[in-house]
């Protein structure tokens, strides 16, 4: 396999709070290959968004990236000057957000918001024509006329498509999609996900699909990464992880989801709450809710191999029942 497009090692992003520094992402390691679609799953507050914001260098002060290596195309983004990082954003790594209505500037037309991206990265060709092409490509009818419209004049689905068009305007190589379809109703959701797959295949685009919806990951992402309390707890090929979870938390996640093929199966919620990240200790952070918890879990647990192309942060990974 060629060198990964994005490789993150030991990423630690901290937010100072009155109760002490809170590590929203603590020791996160993962890779994304060229053109790959990686699913990133976890409850809200598990650090999925913060991780990728750290990659983009968009962590809002007073939060900051304390430690870690972010290699993109071989270069460590943390050593780049602000200008170099800025030139890279949108050109190399792009962001797509959950609700296009809040992601698009209400006071500017869609056309302006596309053209400015093209201009920012000096994309050759007539920006307006390119804008029309992009909008048409994402399936917006009569794109030329719609350039002058404002975001609130688009329907939910159309707006989401427009945003994706804007994100991909500068032909990035990695798209960070932060809950791209959560705000959409089901019918539109499938269309947008299909669009993403088409664009991925067409442009060799890598996608990091951040979602709390396991179904989306199962369907669209060959590989998945599960995060809990700021740490990566399990990664591996999606089918295998679903069939054979190697971490109690992933197991818990599976149990709390209805199954199409077994509709009347009882659902089990995971007891207890996520620990307070400001006061958490070095041991496994899931142990206060884990059925398999033992004394040894209090010791720091590394993300260790657990089978072919599979990693797990649990010393009893093998004993997790399917």
């Amino acid at each position: 396999m060629s060198a990964p497009l994005l490789s993150v090692r030991g990423l630690r992003t901290v937010f100072p709070t009155r109760r002490g520094p809170l590590a929203a992402a603590d020791g996160v390691d993962f890779d994304i290959a060229e053109g790959e679609a990686l699913g990133v799953v976890g409850e809200s507050g598990s650090g999925k968004s913060v991780t990728f914001l750290s990659v983009l260098g968009l962590v809002r002060p007073p939060g900051k990236v304390e430690r870690g290596e972010i290699l993109f195309g071989g270069r460590d983004l943390r050593h780049l000057s602000p200008n170099e990082l800025r030139a890279l954003r949108g050109r190399m790594v792009a962001l797509a957000m959950q609700d296009a209505l809040s992601a698009l500037n209400p006071a500017l037309t869609i056309g302006t918001q596309i053209v400015e991206t093209l201009r920012a990265h000096a994309i050759p060709g007539d920006p307006r024509a390119e804008a029309v092409r992009l909008l048409t490509r994402v399936g917006i009818p009569d794109a030329a006329r719609r350039l002058g419209d404002y975001p609130h004049q688009f329907s939910g689905g159309m707006r989401q498509r427009a945003m994706i068009a804007i994100s991909l305007a500068a032909r990035p190589r990695l798209l960070v999609a932060d809950e791209p379809t959560t705000a959409l109703d089901v019918t539109i959701r499938a269309q947008v996900l299909d669009l993403l797959d088409e664009l991925r295949a067409e442009q060799g685009l890598a996608v990091a699909m951040i979602t709390h919806d396991l179904a989306v990951v199962a369907e669209r992402c060959p590989r998945v990464m599960v995060m809990y309390a700021g740490q990566v707890v399990e990664t591996g090929p999606t089918a295998e992880v679903i069939a054979q979870p190697r971490h109690p938390y992933t197991r818990g996640l599976m149990d709390s989801l209805p199954r199409l093929e077994d509709p009347d199966r009882p659902l089990h919620a995971i007891p207890g709450q996520v620990p307070d990240l400001a006061t958490v200790d070095a041991g496994c952070r899931y142990r206060n809710r884990c059925a398999l918890a033992v004394a040894a879990c209090a010791e720091p647990v590394a993300l260790a191999p657990a089978g072919d192309a599979r990693l797990s942060r649990c010393i009893r990974a093998a004993e997790v029942s399917p």
Partner: protein, 335 residues
């Protein structure tokens, strides 16, 4: 802002004007002291002379009749004769109005030039020393009594340092033919840059005194609006698109942050126009504000009534503009 709201505003104007004219007429009528007495104060006018003057000015008729006559004339734009200048009130006001408008506009300019950069800087560097400094300055701005601050500026910058003239609108050797009554325009129209600078130096201290409280209020509004906008998704998205910091700040963020600021500015213009008599008195500024105060003391009823109606109209219209501007700037609100 739906059409019915526009209609409601337009209906509101005559009611407010009627209300204001009733109040000001009542106030003037009930005020003791007889303008004719003041005009003939210590001269040797005979009683008969005073009576004929009272007849000329129509003061001998009962209040109710005078009010009806006043309303009738006001509707047609005739506001009667100014007792002291013995000239149509409209003419006297028209002469003094440009001075007040020019001072108010320059004061607003001062306010905006101070408030926007300060507000944005404080929002960008939240809770920094700059942010705390801004909130301290803006509190000072709102707490300063205008008349005292004006006197202090005169004492410091005009009397002791001599950097600025003490009062008045234009120094000598800088007279220019009156075109619009706005000195900054007339001096330029007359091709006199030196006169323009001298007029500007005369405007400086009064405009700062008048503009500071507005700057304080505006800076605070911009700071909180800007802080709100900077935390939004679309600013994050704009940065994620790789736009330059300047473009993100001044186009994406500021454009949305200015919406509340513009409405505050429109309303402030109304209160500035109506409230600068103190600054005009302290700086000897020949504006409408000072004229109104003098007219109240001299019981020059027609002039006071006309001026107050003028203020009321401007105030209501400016509030109306504030709504229009809010709608125009904010595409989400369909006009």
């Amino acid at each position: 802002m739906s059409f019915s709201r526009v209609l409601e505003r337009l209906v509101q104007l005559p009611i407010v004007l009627l209300g204001v004219s009733v109040i000001v007429f009542g106030m003037m009528a009930l005020t003791p002291g007889d303008p004719v007495e003041i005009m003939l104060a210590d001269q040797r006018a005979t009683e008969e002379q005073a009576a004929s003057l009272r007849r000329d000015l129509g003061l001998d008729r009962p209040i109710a009749e005078r009010f009806v006559v006043f309303l009738g004339n006001a509707a047609t734009g005739d506001f009667g004769i100014s007792f002291f200048h013995r000239r149509p009130v409209f003419e006297v006001i028209a002469e003094r109005l440009p001075a007040t408008i020019e001072l108010t506009l320059v004061a607003l300019l001062v306010a905006v030039l101070v408030a926007v950069p300060l507000g944005v800087a404080a929002a960008v560097k939240r809770d920094s020393w700059l942010d705390r400094a801004l909130s301290a300055i803006s509190l000072f701005g709102v707490s300063l009594p205008g008349f005292w601050f004006g006197i202090l500026l005169i004492l410091l910058f005009a009397v002791h340092l001599g950097w600025f003239p003490v009062g008045g609108r234009i120094p000598f050797g800088a007279e220019v033919p009156r075109l619009t009554g706005f000195l900054l325009i007339d001096t330029l129209a007359a091709g006199r840059p030196d006169a323009f600078l001298r007029a500007l130096s005369h405007l400086a201290l009064p405009a700062i005194t008048l503009g500071l409280p507005t700057a304080a209020l505006l800076a605070r509004v911009i700071r909180s609006a800007m802080a709100e906008v900077l935390a939004t998704d679309y600013v994050l998205f704009a940065e994620a698109k790789g736009l330059s910091r300047r473009r993100v700040l001044f186009l994406h963020a500021l454009k949305n942050a200015l919406i509340p600021a513009v409405t505050v500015l429109a309303i402030e213009t109304g209160s500035l126009l109506g409230g600068n008599m103190i600054v005009e008195t302290v700086f000897g500024w020949p504006g409408l504000g000072r004229l109104v105060v003098e007219s109240i003391f001299a019981r020059n009823y027609p002039l006071v009534q006309a001026a107050v109606l003028l203020y009321a109209v401007t105030y209501v219209l400016l509030n109306f503009c504030a709504d229009l501007l809010y709608a125009a700037l904010n595409p989400k609100v369909r006009l």
